[in-house]
Amino acid sequence: MLRVALRPRFLGLLALMVVATLVCGLLATWQWDRAHRAISSKAEGSQELGDIRDVLDVGDAVTNALVGDTVSATGIYVPDEQVVVPGRNIGGAEAVLVVSSLLVELEDGSQVRLPVARGWLPAEELTGADGQIDPSLAPAPPQGEVEISGRLEAGEAASGGVSEGVASEIATPLLVNEWGSPMYSGFVSVDDPPGDLQPLPAAESEFTRGLDWQNIGYSLQWVLFGAFFLYLWWRSVRAAHLDEVADRREAMERMLDEASSSSEASSGTTAATGPSSAPADSSSSSAVHATAGSTPDKDV
């Protein structure tokens, strides 16, 4: 089998298969890294990135590399620009998030809105007499220039809208419609809010949940694929080898048959000349001997 495998044709194919397997290996490590990227990205913990104006440009997405890092912002809360986001469950309690609009002045003098999640309150504190969530019960933001510090979070996917100060999500597209543009995408979740407000837990996403098992699965599939290429090569070497063995055996059998039949035929003629037996047809006797002789020859 080794001699078959070492033929130039099979060596060439082996080289091709090894390349294919290496490519699969690279793709496997790529998926493996992707599965671990959240863990490696946040292994050093959340970073202090400083003023948001130096971190994020207006309109730029809050990337996974930035999410969860701490930023600071200085500005003025716009009065009356506040929404509440009900229907959240924080540590078993039904919670309502309070989101306000902080007006930040950029270096070129223009003003930009930054959605700020100032904290959350238990739902019952914001429930009016009619049993509905009443945004006016939420504490108003402080007046004058304030400096806040908090976690930078990506905006949530919008599913509903904003009506009468109640928003379905903290989503920039919803808030832009309510408060106007320009506005930072994403929001800042204040670290230690004043008063009754409590800080939001870190937002969860597929990214922050850590090890991505889907990517682990893809990684293993690539390994399997790479192994399959090598297996294919081995199968084709084996098939070629077995065919050749079978060919050699058949050739050998034919040769032995011929050898035995010719020797039998010659002995048959000598026997025919003898007085004891009747002269036999030489061609039929050789055919009989050939079939009979082939059976013991196989063991040779």
Binding site: F228, L232, W233, R235, D243, A251
Partner: protein
């Protein structure tokens, strides 16, 4: 040069029938995947390459991609089965695998493979040759 080893014609035809179904199913599945990709990244594409603005199409794409992956794997396994039964060389297996990854190609690949199977069964000896010779109205003494 020794005569080629005989093929098992019945097994070959069965394998090809399975491969043919897999090939058509894979071809359709791949076209569906391409259509989903176009919806996700072109029709509802974002500013950068491979970004999207549609959550719906992202969800559809995330659902269909693994299903298509599974269909392709079944296609490769059935192709491997046919390849072994036909005693083909290694490059032809790679060709069968390629047919499954290029959109639309699997339909032509299926026809090409059919032709190759028929040619080989006609050209090479098969295990069924003897039965046919016995059953046929061949010249008998």
């Amino acid at each position: 040069m020794p005569a080629p080893r005989p093929l098992d014609e019945v097994a070959c035809r069965t394998s090809f029938a399975r491969f043919r179904v897999a090939s058509i199913v894979e071809g359709i599945a791949l076209l569906v995947l391409v259509a989903i990709m176009i919806m996700r990244y072109v029709v509802f594409g974002g500013e950068g390459i491979f970004t999207t603005t549609s959550d719906t199409w992202t969800q559809i794409s995330k659902t269909w991609s693994p299903i298509h992956g599974l269909i392709y794997m079944i296609y490769v396994v059935l192709g491997f089965d046919l390849w072994m039964k036909m005693r083909w060389g290694l490059p032809r297996m790679l060709l069968l695998m390629l047919f499954g990854v290029v959109p639309v190609l699997s339909f032509f690949g299926e026809r090409w493979t059919h032709q190759a199977v028929e040619d080989d069964l006609a050209r090479r000896p098969t295990l069924q040759d003897e039965d046919r010779a016995d059953a046929g109205p061949g010249p008998r003494a």
